[in-house]
């Protein structure tokens, strides 16, 4: 059974085409990762699926109905942006408020314990740490005993322990038969949770496949070194020279380094670094353009990505 579906869905904001004829089907029992760099269209797709926005063309469906019809959302759980929790309300009050919208909500204590914030019931959300707020925000998606939850970047900015607590809760929900659509720009997160991953870039679906298959595509490394001239090397998808330094993007850094040493080429200052998703996809799709925010996609700035 298909719980959420996008059928050639496009969304335009003025001149910007945020989503370009996207097809997506989320079936009951799946845990699907939606992977892509910032500005790729993940949030726009999520917003269409929960009825906050209307597609400019194409269709979206939730439980077979229009997501903009409240009845279609009865079995769906969504996470608010954690910065948006009403700061003066207590944690317990926020949960009670959301619970009031559902016929059979999870009891407050049980829900908060599941996310490791049971001791915060009386605290105002404005006084919580970023991690606590994030956990509360994710917990809210599960209040109404949903069959499908849509989690938009649930663990961005969390420390490792908090992230694992959340992952456990999401896995437990999935093991009980729940369906999850989770967006992230961390491949690691998608790898840890999902079997199936949908890669989005520049508003289009670039890949819809198993995690293993996608890891092969995005597992691009950047090998950089100082050398005058390089021979032909295996697995290089792109070469560039910046300030005298050679940067090679490759799908197999081990093989490349081995070949480099074997050829006996003189080089110094070898570095192997992961690339950002943006870089990986720009390399793969061969589209040379500045990233969405107009800044260069630097691998160093995103240590945990990919």
């Amino acid at each position: 059974m298909t719980l959420a579906r996008a059928d050639q869905a496009s969304r335009r904001y003025g001149d910007v085409l945020a989503l370009d004829r996207v097809d997506l089907e989320v079936r009951a029992g799946e845990l699907v990762g939606l992977l892509g760099p910032n500005g790729a269209g993940k949030s726009t797709l999520m917003n269409l699926l929960v009825g906050l926005r209307r597609p400019s063309s194409g269709r979206v469906e939730l439980f077979g109905g229009d997501p903009r019809d409240p009845a279609s959302r009865r079995q769906v759980g969504v996470t608010p942006q954690e910065t948006g929790l009403p700061g003066t309300l207590r944690v317990g009050e926020v949960v009670d408020f959301v619970s009031a919208h559902y016929p059979d909500p999870v009891p407050r204590g049980e829900l908060l314990d599941r996310f490791g914030i049971g001791d915060l019931v009386r605290r105002q959300t404005g006084g919580l740490s970023g991690g606590q707020r994030r956990r509360l925000a994710v917990a809210l998606a599960f209040v109404g005993r949903p069959r499908l939850v849509l989690l938009d970047e649930p663990t961005t900015g969390l420390d490792v322990t908090a992230r694992h607590t959340l992952w456990d809760a999401i896995r437990a929900f999935h093991d009980d038969g729940g369906t999850v659509l989770l967006s992230s720009h961390y491949l690691e997160e998608v790898e840890a949770l999902a079997r199936r991953v949908v890669v989005i870039g520049q508003g289009r679906v670039l890949a819809d496949d198993t995690v293993d298959a996608v890891r092969g595509i995005v597992g691009v490394r950047r090998v950089s070194l100082l050398a005058d001239e390089l021979p032909e090397l295996p697995g290089v998808v792109r070469t560039e020279r910046i300030d005298g330094r050679l940067h090679l993007l490759t799908t197999d850094a081990d093989e490349l380094v081995r070949a480099l040493v074997t050829t006996g080429t003189a080089f110094t200052d070898l570095e192997v670094r992961p690339t950002s998703l943006e870089e990986a996809f720009l390399a793969i799709t061969g589209e040379d353009r500045p990233t969405a925010e107009g800044r260069p996609a630097t691998a160093a700035a995103r240590p945990t990505t990919v």
Partner: protein, 245 residues
């Protein structure tokens, strides 16, 4: 309806947790009572009753313009608001809840004025007239609620605060709220009937005393309600179109 009450309850909670916000809309009319009404009309039962009714009108106006104008504009900045629309309810309960909460807060902000009127002046009211006045407050809330909604839905929060502040004083003075009925300076008597504050004040005066309302002010009040409703509806639709379509 049940959900509207839930939304109203939590919106009230949010506001009451920052008591200064409640205090704000009650302060100016209460201060005006103490500085203008108590010393000048305090001993005259009829005059004090009318003056108290004027201050009640003033309070209703400022409470509504600020609550809706600034409250709605601030809400629109918060990501919490779109989140509530992903719950299986849609925007209606939240809107209804806001209006209920607004009305509750309006009554709350009247307490200081009424208490001052009852204890420090000679103002007098029969229980029946008091109930009638309570009902009239809900009626005269309508134009100012609409005005607040129009401001809140059409402006960003920083601009909404300024506009709310700029609007409410001229409306109070121009409508003749700070003088006894028929006793305002000449030019104010001329413009007053054309302002929504005057029609509202006349309704309050007729609720608390032997006062017959001026038809022109009432007709104009009706015109204002229609105009402000159209403006508020336009601003609401435009905002919906920008953020949720």
């Amino acid at each position: 309806m049940q959900l509207a009450l839930v939304h109203a309850r939590y919106q009230l909670l949010e506001i009451i947790r920052i008591p200064v916000a409640v205090f704000g809309s009650a302060f100016f009319p209460a201060a005006a009572m103490i500085f203008f009404v108590v010393p000048f009309a305090g001993d005259d039962a009829v005059g004090a009753t009318y003056a108290t009714a004027s201050m009640v009108t003033f309070s209703v106006m400022s409470a509504n313009i600020f609550q809706y104008g600034v409250g709605v504009a601030e809400d629109r900045d918060q990501p919490w608001n779109p989140y509530t629309r992903t719950l299986p309810a849609g925007p209606a309960p939240r809107f209804a809840g806001r209006v209920l909460a607004g009305l509750a807060l309006t009554y709350l902000s009247l307490i200081p004025v009424v208490v001052i009127g009852a204890t420090l002046t000679a103002a007098q009211l029969t229980p029946a007239a008091f109930l009638l006045a309570l009902g009239t407050v809900a009626v005269i809330s309508v134009p100012f609620t609409l005005m607040g909604l129009a401001i809140g839905y059409s402006l960003p929060s920083k601009a909404a605060i300024v506009v709310a502040q700029v609007v409410f004083l001229p409306l109070a003075f121009g409508g003749g709220l700070l003088s006894a009925p028929g006793d305002a300076p000449g030019f104010i008597e001329t413009i007053a009937p054309y302002l929504p504050t005057r029609g509202a004040a006349e309704l309050m005066w007729s609720a608390v005393g032997d006062y017959s309302v001026e038809p022109l002010a009432l007709v104009m009040l009706g015109v204002w309600v229609v105009l402000l409703a159209a403006l508020a509806a336009w601003a609401y639709r435009r905002d919906e179109g920008r953020r949720f379509s």
